[in-house]
Amino acid sequence: MATEIINNNKRKSTGFDVNKIRADFPILKEIIHGKPLCYLDNAATTQKPQSVIDTIVKYYTSQNANIHRGVHYLSELATKEFEDARTKVKDFINASSEKEIIFTRGTTESINLVANVFNKAILKDEDEIIISAMEHHSNIVPWQLIQDQKKIKLRIIPIGDNGEIIFDEFIKLINEKTKLISIVYVSNSLGTINPVERIIEEAHRHNIPVLLDAAQAIQHIKIDVQKLDCDFLAFSGHKIYGPTGIGVLYGKEKLLDSLPPFLGGGDMISKVTFEKTTYNELPYKFEAGTSNIADTIGLGTAIDYVSQIGLENISLHENEILDYATESLLQIPELRIIGQAKHKSSVISFVFDNIHPHDAGTFLDFEGIAIRTGHHCTQPVMDRFNIPATSRASFAMYNTKEEVDVLVKGIKKLIEVFN
């Protein structure tokens, strides 16, 4: 109760104003097929505020240089901007040090990095990795790639009809061969928010590290990695209003220190001779080659933007939109929502009895509505619910109830034409 009041007050005092936010995103003024853009594909990627766009333009216009190696002015400037972005990420997720923030191309690369170094240093035949039945392909395939070399087992936490993991089944999967639990924080196809606190607590009772795929959590939920006590956390910049091609792997310093490098090359070494090479310290040990400097700095600006509005305010607004959209869509008898977990993020997957998602997607596109249709890189989820695909609307801080109305109106028109 008390926190609710504080949140409400905070919201009032910071004055969350969706129209003001919309004005920061130039793309939202686009006209698509003669209709104002109604962008509801935020789980695929979010739009970028002007400040992020400006940061990238400014970098290439007046700051561009390679980092960490030059002694000239621009190189030092670019290095400072780049390292400032690392500090912003560190503060944003409350990591204890910059050494724990590794820049990657995105969630996919972050998970592949962990899979690779675990394969090199830890995994042996018969070892087991636990994932869930609602993983994105990026948290399935990297582990299967190891199976080409070693006889490791993937154990899958099943999900119930409402789209929640079955916790008791998870507990049963843990044994002395379990080497890692790698699980999605928020499902991109069902919207389910997984009970990651309980999962981590249970895993740590058995001394098993936990990797969280936070690709769909970072932009909605305040994450404090020290409080959560996760061992790894992966996310992508482009889903939190930042550029594509930049992502983060957080890892506990001790753990990262104990693991071998992923890629070899420049920047990740401290001394190279033909006889022996010593590796650079954290986090550079895991960042071989010239980094994606511009987009890293852009990610820093995106984090500034989100922090300035406040994740609490953002999630309050998004939850309001989610509730409104859920209620509105449930009024349509021909439509069925897939994924009805108690704790959900602003993602709604739905199917129709007689209309294929692709027809829905194409039809709604001509109403200016951008939704995603398909399996959302979660084919096992589709199989679990015995459907080929879904339509998915996903909301961000700039979406409005009016846009939900546009979606509902579009769906009603769709049903008229196709039924």
Partner: protein, 151 residues
């Protein structure tokens, strides 16, 4: 509906989607293939009964979008009775039209009822939907004659 969208979802296509023809299994089919489009999750089973190089009967089952279902339905109505080579030639022409390689009216008209799919060329991502049934049919032709192989 928007004009371009109407081109894609012509009434004939919507009708065939709602009431697909030859949507059944042929029990004594001697050729069969399974078509799958991993992008959309569309699955089509095509059953063919060939006799002396002619399509005596053809049918389909499965799930897919309106374009792929209507395409399978129209295809099955049109190729029934044709020699295999003619059906394959028709597919070549059909494919050229939906990918925009043939655009002149005369050529498109030769497709007859299939001309309703000409609008697909404006939607490159839907070409696979329109051609799935055809690819699957051709694959079925190439399958071993089941009535022979089981003997």
């Amino acid at each position: 509906m928007d004009a371009e969208l109407k081109e894609l979802y012509q009434q004939v296509i919507l009708d065939h989607n709602k009431n697909p023809r030859n949507f059944r299994k042929i029990e004594n089919a001697n050729h069969f293939a399974e078509g799958y489009n991993p992008l959309c999750g569309d699955r089509l089973n095509i059953y063919v009964e060939l006799e002396d190089g002619r399509i005596k009967d053809i049918s389909f089952q499965g799930s897919g979008c309106a374009i792929s279902k209507a395409s399978a339905s129209l295809m099955s109505s049109i190729v029934k009775g044709l020699p295999v080579e003619e059906a394959e030639k028709l597919f070549e022409k059909f494919h050229a039209v939906i990918t925009g390689k043939i655009t002149d009216e005369e050529n498109i008209e030769e497709l007859g009822k299939l001309a309703v799919f000409a609008g697909v060329k404006e939607f490159p991502s839907r070409v696979k939907c329109a051609s799935l049934a055809w690819h699957t049919m051709v694959a079925a032709f190439k399958q071993e004659d089941k009535s022979v192989s089981t003997e």
